[in-house]
Amino acid sequence: MNTDSPDTTAQLTQIPKLANGYRLQWEPAQDSFVVLYPEGMKVLSGSAAEIVQQCTGEQNVAAIIKSLEEKFPGVELSKDVLDFVAGASSEGWLDV
């Protein structure tokens, strides 16, 4: 992904937050983080869980990428984060 495109620039300033009614929590029975919502549950992969934990509504996508890159040095994460935020928001469970 070209991280200089106007779309990407706009996306980097988005402040993602779980939509109303969605809740992130650790589920021992699944050995995973999950997102719970009315009558359903998504089991998150390890990397998805890292991203969703940052989606607190208090920082924008650029800051999320920065803090994850600090946590996992040497890993190029921006494309993963941008794709994830775009996907989850189009599915309606992440507000941006």
């Binding site: 999950v34 719970l36 009315p38 309606g92």
Partner: protein, 371 residues
Amino acid sequence: MSEPNAPLWLLAELTYKCPLQCPYCSNPVDFAQTGTELDTDQWIKVLREGRELGAAQLGLSGGEPIVRKDLEVIVAEARKLGYYTNLITSGIGMTADRVASLKEAGLDHIQVSFQASSSELNNWIAGTDSFQHKLDMARAVKENGFPMVLCFVTHRENIDQVEDMLTLATQLEADYVELATTQYYGWAFLNRDVLMPDRAQLESAEAAVNRFRDQKINDAMKIYYVIPDYYESRPKPCMSGWGSLFMLVTPDGTALPCHSARVIPGIEFPNAKDTPLSEIWKRSDAFNKFRGFDWMQEPCRSCSEKETDFGGCRCQAYMLTGDAAATDPVCDKSPQRHVIEEAITASREPQTKPLVFRNAKNSKKIPGLIS
């Protein structure tokens, strides 16, 4: 057998008391003969044990769960245990104050049922003057910040209103709308001939749903459209398999793998009052009875689709063929598919029997009503 997966869903039917009389209710027809309701502490014990077992979604239903004065206490405890708490209500008996107090207790979501999109039909089916109050309560649910599911159970008398139902759900700002065609269990089985829509009605309902989606009238609202299995050629994967991810506890504490499992004779369902849920889930004969594939007969046993639909519904197999281990007769590979065709044909005859409404008086008359 290896350890079963965790039951993701625990459904607590807190009471069979209900101010409505819907003739398709999934409660057992003899509900009036049930034992004493579990008290607050007994329910909390059930919730704790279910959570330890891995249940993440908790449904609070009934009957009408709002009848329970301790609902807020139960919700608060459930939320503290980490459940996602879903209240399944008709809205009748609810007040705006109670919606607010449930929010405060930590309730996550409310599903409100409607019987129709018009006052007249809604009130007739519900057997009460309830439509206006439902509208008020749906608004209170949204005003308190809850995500809201509106549920319409559809059948011959109301399925032609699907378009209006979607419009009403949009006006009420529902986040999800469920259009669930009546499944023939409990009271609905008793009233099957009168409730079953015909094929033309189904096709036109489905077209209305597709039109609503295609015209992007309300993209934000998710629509679940459940079609009736009698008109399918493959059975539904009922409960994703017996004892696979769902456990229901009835008002008196009986633990069941689905709403209607008690129709199957010869199975002793344990009671959560005296048996720990983990014991019931993992080791009881009742929950192991139709787990896996060893119980299957032909044509299920050698069928390539058995891991998709698990042979369909055990209750339906029993109710329609007399054998709970038979292939669900909805399947067109079933040698007994003809019973489904006969039921559809019978429902097309002029109906002389009136609808039997779900109430304690009629429940006590059972089995007179069935014969």
